[in-house]
């Protein structure tokens, strides 16, 4: 498959780009929500519009009422979300959540997916325990209790956790904390007794929860996939979330770069446009190259994932690591090249720097994924 959009994808990109640049732009969304002290983390009306355009169901199978498309298509949406810093539950819900639920029972699917597709529900992944991503270590205890399970423990960095209709929770049902196997995935409804949320605003104005589970009881129907065999589904959800966040990062990097090159063409110092200074030109050209390469890595990984290739896993980590590094460079150069005004809240470039940091951290940062590339390569 060639590494560029086919006709359908190009059409989707056209539509999505215009829509998000309009409705999802920084001023009407990110700044409005932030300055209004929003505590939800997104605008429900915009989420509904996503649904009206069919975007919420991209990764939901046609049988389940979605479009049954792939990661390339989801990435098209995410890139524009990134470019406009649009606060949206798309990644946690329509990408990570929908991928996990795609492997659930018909009953569970029926309970949540229609709401997702309709833009009325939000899902959140409750996975990390602690400040760094360590999906191989799950300590949250899920004991058998009657017909179901009783969950005790805590989860951190649960984006959209406080407003989600269901939490996708990885719990330990067998083995010790660091065993790869022995975990089970649950869809825990928001109103389950014993759930406590400590919702905090993050640097990028998104809202994440520290969630406590105090003997939370769920019935057996809440299990996604196999009991003790949740790792397989979790890995699929992780791959989706990782390549999704990588795609969103390329949008963030591209948006920051566009702002920066525009500034280089208008700001004057020492009687010249600062874009005339060769030192800045070379840095901009290097940055362009890095962003292009990151984009290529992302689309390659998306295609491999969509094709079910055995190389997808490696390439997803390559893409997340590369996109993180390239976008980090883009926002650092962006702020520096903007000079003093880049430090002000009034200019948008700093918002890109903030979003980059939060996205890079989501489901494994560049160091995590570089290490994973080494491990998967056998060294």
């Amino acid at each position: 498959m060639p590494l560029y959009f086919n006709e359908d994808q190009a059409m989707l990109a056209d539509t999505v780009t215009g829509f998000i640049a309009g409705e999802g732009a920084i001023k009407p969304q990110l700044r409005r929500l932030r300055d209004g002290n929003d505590t939800r983390g997104y605008d429900p009306a915009l989420w509904k519009q996503f649904a009206e355009m069919g975007l919420t169901g991209i990764l939901v199978s046609e049988a389940d009422g979605g479009l049954g498309l792939g990661h390339v298509e989801a990435g098209i949406v995410l890139r524009e979300i990134g470019r406009n810093l649009t606060p949206s539950p798309f990644l946690s819900t329509a990408v990570v959540g929908a991928t996990a639920l795609g492997h659930a029972s018909e009953d569970l699917k029926g309970r949540y997916l229609p709401g997702v597709v309709a833009g009325e529900s939000v899902l959140a992944l409750a996975l990390d325990e602690g400040a760094k991503h360590r999906p191989e270590r799950i300590a949250l205890k899920a004991e058998r209790a009657g017909n179901g399970f009783r969950l005790s423990g805590r989860k951190d960095f649960v984006i959209h956790g406080a407003t989600a209709d269901a939490l996708i929770v990885a719990g330990r049902t067998a083995g010790s904390d660091s065993d790869a196997e022995g975990i089970t995935l649950f869809a825990v409804p928001k109103d389950a007794a014993g759930i406590g949320h400590n919702a905090v605003r993050l640097v990028d104005s998104s809202i994440a929860s520290h969630v406590t589970f105090d003997r939370v009881e769920v019935d057996g129907g809440a299990v996604i996939g196999e009991v003790d065999g949740g790792r397989a589904v979790l890995d699929k959800a992780l791959a989706a979330g990782r390549i999704g966040s990588a795609a969103e990062l390329t949008g963030v990097g591209g948006g920051a770069f566009a702002m920066t090159t525009a500034y280089l063409k208008t700001r004057k110092q020492f009687g010249k446009l600062i874009g005339e200074f060769q030192a800045l030109q070379h840095r901009a050209a290097h940055l362009y190259s890095e962003l292009e390469i990151a984009e290529a890595a992302v689309i390659k990984a998306q295609q491999l994932l969509d094709a079910g290739s055995s190389r997808a896993d490696l390439m997803v980590s390559v893409a997340k690591a590369k996109a993180s590094r390239a976008t980090n460079l883009a926002v650092r150069e962006g702020v520096q090249m903007h000079g003093g005004v880049g430090m002000t809240d009034e200019f948008d470039i700093g918002l890109y720097m903030k979003r980059d940091r939060a996205l890079a951290e989501f489901l494994g940062d560049a160091n995590y994924h570089a290490d994973r590339v080494a491990t998967l390569s056998g060294y």
Binding site: D128, G130, A131, K132, H133, R134, D156, F157, V200, R201, L202, V203, D204, S205, A208, K268, Q269, F270, G271, F277, A279, L280, N328, R332, V335, Q336, G339, G340, V341, G342, M343, T344, D345, E346, G350, L351, M353, K354, R357, A358, E361, D365, A366, N367, Y368, A370, D371, A374
Partner: protein
């Protein structure tokens, strides 16, 4: 006992008797600092007493002449004063841009009348000063400033806008670069002093990406400045400004070199551990750079003392120190993970890691950008052509 030993004994005795115990504790918050000024609200009685006692002996500015409010100490005596202050951990009785910046400039460029008047005010902490240099259109290219003072015989009418004026909203007076000759870029700027309550002066705080800040935008709308309030000659304010900028850059490079750039791997290991080998490698490489830079800082200060440092070396220190500090906070954010992302939580004391990280991004912009530093190194140290 030599004279200096006797001097040290006197100082020590005076400090023992006069520095309140509360003033011997480390400064923890911004408002532990005594900035002085008309509107200053002392945080404690001890802070007020400590200032008054020091003012009475000229100890707020120990190396200024007595006639200007100082204690007239020579360099050896001033060093003893600093050492004895450090020995008991005494807080500075007064901190201000007046002492650090305007004072030295007045001592060099002011008239006798100006010195007596303004330096004494500064020494007593009566007037808090701010600095009006940068403008929206003139960042690195400071000399392109546009704020204009129209000559009206015995006064100027000043119009224009400054930016990055630290504490402008709290300051009583401003020392300000104003264009007084539009035809002459470098020799058309004057260094003026005026009261911030003069009609037509207004300020607006600047919110940074890291949150609230002491910086302001400052606007001048037909502000009347009497002719007597110029420092140095008409249209030669750039000389005064350059002299001050040198001071500022040395302060920043000194600060960068000494305190902030310690190694961090061991700290990260203690706070939560390093479970990613790539992060560990990055920390190790950073620690190599940081420990090497600490040696550089030490060498730089040693060489400065004996005049061995290249006069442009502060530019190198500022460049390397600020770039390293930015990298340091990038690593701290990576090590801190999702907790470090929190913006308002109690656990992070209101987002300290993230706000500090974002604040460091200004290090390589304020006080001369990294690009300007590199230009200066290329020109003045490497003597590259056309630089």
């Amino acid at each position: 006992m030599t004279d200096l030993e006797a001097f040290r004994a006197d100082i020590r005795a005076w400090l023992d008797a006069n520095c309140p115990p509360e003033m011997r504790r480390p400064i923890e918050d911004e408002d532990d600092i005594c900035w002085g000024g008309r509107a200053f609200a002392f945080k404690s009685e001890a802070q007020k007493i400590w200032l008054e006692r020091c003012v009475a002996h000229g100890y707020t500015v120990p190396d200024w002449p007595k006639a200007y409010g100082g204690a007239g100490m020579d360099p050896a005596q001033a060093k003893i004063w600093r050492e004895e202050m450090a020995r008991i951990g005494a807080r500075p009785p007064l901190s201000s841009f007046g002492i650090w910046m305007l004072g030295p400039a007045l001592l060099k460029f002011g008239t006798e009348e100006q010195k007596v008047h303004y330096l004494n005010q500064i020494a007593r902490g009566e007037i808090r000063w701010c600095q009006g240099y940068s403008e929206p259109g003139s960042g690195s290219d400071l000399v392109s400033l546009q704020t204009f003072g129209e000559d009206k015989g015995d006064h100027w009418i000043v119009n224009g806008q400054k930016i990055w004026t630290s504490y402008a909203d709290k300051a009583d007076w401003i020392f300000c670069l104003v264009r007084t000759d539009k035809a002459n870029k470098y020799q058309g700027i004057s260094f003026l002093l005026f009261d911030m309550t003069t009609p037509g002066v207004s300020t607006r705080p600047i919110k940074l990406i890291s949150g609230a800040s002491p910086f302001c935008e400052t606007f001048f709308d037909n502000v009347v400045v009497p002719k007597a309030q110029i420092v140095g000659e008409l249209n030669r304010g750039w000389d005064v400004a350059k002299y001050l900028l040198g001071h500022e850059r040395e302060m920043i490079s000194g600060a960068g070199g000494s305190e902030r750039l310690n190694a961090i791997g061991a700290v990260v290991q203690r706070n939560g551990g390093i479970d990613n080998p790539v992060l560990r490698a990055e920390l190790a490489q950073f620690d190599v750079d940081a420990l090497a830079f600490a040696a550089m800082g030490e060498k730089f200060l040693d060489e400065i003392k004996v005049g061995k440092a290249h006069p442009a070396q502060p530019n190198m220190m500022k460049y390397s120190g600020t770039e390293l500090n930015k990298q340091r906070h990038e690593l701290l954010m990576a090590a801190g993970g999702s907790t470090a992302l929190e913006w308002e939580s109690a656990e992070t004391r209101g987002g300290t890691p993230a706000r500090s990280w974002l604040r460091t991004k200004a290090n390589s912009i304020e006080g001369g950008t990294s690009e300007v530093m590199l230009n200066v190194i290329a020109k003045r140290i490497l003597d590259l052509p056309g630089a």
